[in-house]
């Protein structure tokens, strides 16, 4: 299963664009400043052409940065991108708690 689907695994809610952004940022983060677009596409489980659009938006929003290495762009997460991830996961935590208090309970993978 591609990483992108894991972000919201077990949840019945429709995957939002914020889930995709978080997935891309998490994968880019693993490469510590050396993320190539093809590598990220394998990690996210998304075709490169579609991924480029997301990456472009993340670059324009200052959540990712890029530089040329050996004539090819590589990507890295910015402090603003890390702040996005922190907020995103914190929000997911609140959603879990509200789901529990609403009697829904957390998704069980067993």
């Amino acid at each position: 299963m591609p990483a992108g689907r894991d972000v919201k695994r077990g949840s019945s809610r429709r995957r939002e664009v914020s889930d995709l952004y978080a997935t891309v940022l998490e994968v880019v983060k693993r490469y510590h400043g050396a993320a190539r677009i093809t590598r990220v596409s394998y990690g996210v489980g998304m075709p490169v052409d579609r991924l480029r659009n997301l990456v472009e938006r993340l670059l324009n929003s200052g959540l990712l940065k890029s530089e040329e290495v050996d004539g090819r762009p590589v990507y890295d997460i910015t402090p603003r991108g890390q702040a996005f991830l922190d907020t995103y996961w914190k929000m997911q935590g609140y959603v879990e708690v509200l789901g529990r208090s609403n009697g829904e309970g957390p998704p069980d993978r067993s």
Binding site: M1, P2, A3, G4, D6, V7, R9, G10, A22, T23, L25, E26, V27, V28, K29, R30, Y31, T38, R39, V40, Y42, G43, V44, G45, L85, D86, Y88, W89, K90, Q92, G93, Y94, V95, E96, V97, R100, S101, P106, R109, S110
Partner: protein, 405 residues
């Protein structure tokens, strides 16, 4: 050095290759005992190797190379836009694969970096493992650092650090330094850790032993848990006994056994401890429920208190309209306005306006306007403000009876 080539779609039988090996797309190599390549093995596209395979280095591009046996790479293995599948054991120095790596048998490498999916059917030992997408392993995982952008689903672990963006599930083991997970962390068995930081949900289904725990949403430990600090944004649960330094929970906190803290317990919502609760101090927004509760310094409680054997603190304060079932023991006990309690035992007991108590045993007693008690026994002084009532006249004694707790 000589090069042996296998043409596109070729079907050949090989044993020992003196120099390098070059294999074109859709080739199939039958193995004579064992395929041993002295130099480099290069694959362009899909290929199959029918048995055990050893080479100096391994590189593939744009396809899946399947090895139906063991694969031993004396130096490095790389795959550009490709995948590698090994039915047997695997050994290499540095591994760098774009698409995916699947290993059925035990695996050993110095570093493993996979862009997409890493799957292992047996034990894996490496210094570092980095996966962009998903990492799944059935056997023991031994490494210094493991990270994945997506999910990690592994067996027992012996690690220094573990980091994932989405989801981590493991059978248990030891992560000596840190576990950092964005979404959800599940350990199905006993786990030891240096620190645990999870954005969403953490579920320890066996015993837990570690340092700091920080969870944004929900935390649950199905067995006993020892920790240094436990910080939960939403709901925290320990089904067994809890032991640590400090707890901070935003919402509700439940403990199925006893809870022993060397420091502070701070909960925004409610606390429920089935057996004994001991801590240095308490700061509670809502309800407290325990068989007995003891705080070395102060306890500040916003909601109802329910104990069977009592609540004790050097400085005990119940906020406005709080209700207490079970004896309260101080130090100093202060009931806020309209608070209601049963028996109070303290050096100083103060009831706020229109607060009520059943029996009070204290050196010094102060009842504010409209406050009321059934009985007051004191050794020092009683200060009844206008409108304060004691059903039977306050009784001065030489000594107070032994306090509970």
């Amino acid at each position: 050095m000589t090069e042996t080539s296998v043409p596109k779609g070729g079907h050949v039988r090989l044993g020992a290759v003196d120099g390098d090996l070059r294999v074109e797309n859709n080739a199939h190599i039958e193995v004579d005992g064992q395929l041993v390549v002295a130099g480099r093995a290069r694959f362009a596209g899909h290929a199959e190797v029918g048995g055990n395979f050893e080479c100096g280095s391994f590189h593939s591009e744009d396809g899946t190379v399947q090895v139906h046996g063991d694969l031993v790479v004396r130096e490095d293995l790389s795959s550009q836009d490709g995948a590698v599948e090994v039915d047997g054991q695997f050994r290499a120095r540095e591994v760098d694969v774009d698409r995916g790596l699947r290993i059925a048998g035990p695996a050993r490498a110095e570093t493993i970096e996979v862009g997409g999916v890493l799957e292992g059917g047996d034990a894996l030992t490496a210094t570092t493992v980095s996966v962009g997408g998903r990492f799944h392993l059935k056997g023991l995982l031994t490494a210094r650092a493991v990270e994945a952008g997506g999910s990690i689903d592994v067996g027992l672990v012996e690690l220094e650090t573990l980091e994932a963006g989405g989801l981590v599930r493991l059978q248990g083991g030891s992560v000596r330094r840190s576990i950092e997970v964005g979404g959800r962390f599940v350990s199905d068995g006993p786990i030891e850790f240096g620190s645990l930081e999870v954005g969403g949900v953490a579920d320890l289904r066996g015993e837990g032993k570690g340092g700091s725990v920080e969870v944004g949403g929900m935390f649950s430990a199905q067995g006993n848990l020892s920790f240094s600090t436990l910080h939960v944004g939403g709901i925290g649960t320990i089904r067994g006994n809890g032991r640590g330094e400090k707890v901070e929970v935003g919402g509700k906190f439940e403990v199925g056994g006893s809870l022993e803290l060397q420091g502070r317990l701070e909960v925004g919502g409610s606390v429920s401890v089935a057996a004994e609760l001991m801590a240095h101090e308490l700061d509670l927004g809502g309800r407290l429920s325990a068989r007995r509760a003891t705080f070395i310094t102060r306890a500040d409680i916003g909601g109802p208190v329910q104990t069977k054997e009592g609540l004790k603190a050097q400085d005990l304060r119940l906020r406005r309209k709080a209700r207490a079932e079970g004896p309260l023991v101080g130090g100093t006990i202060r009931l806020g306005e309209k608070a209601r309690a049963e028996d109070l035992f303290g050096t100083i007991v103060e009831l706020g306006e229109r607060a009520t108590a059943r029996r009070i045993f204290a050196n010094t007693v102060r009842l504010s306007d409209g406050a009321a008690a059934d009985e007051v026994t004191y050794t020092g002084s009683v200060d009844l403000r206008p409108g304060a009532q004691v059903r039977t006249p306050p009784r001065r004694a030489d000594a107070l009876p032994p306090f509970p707790l």
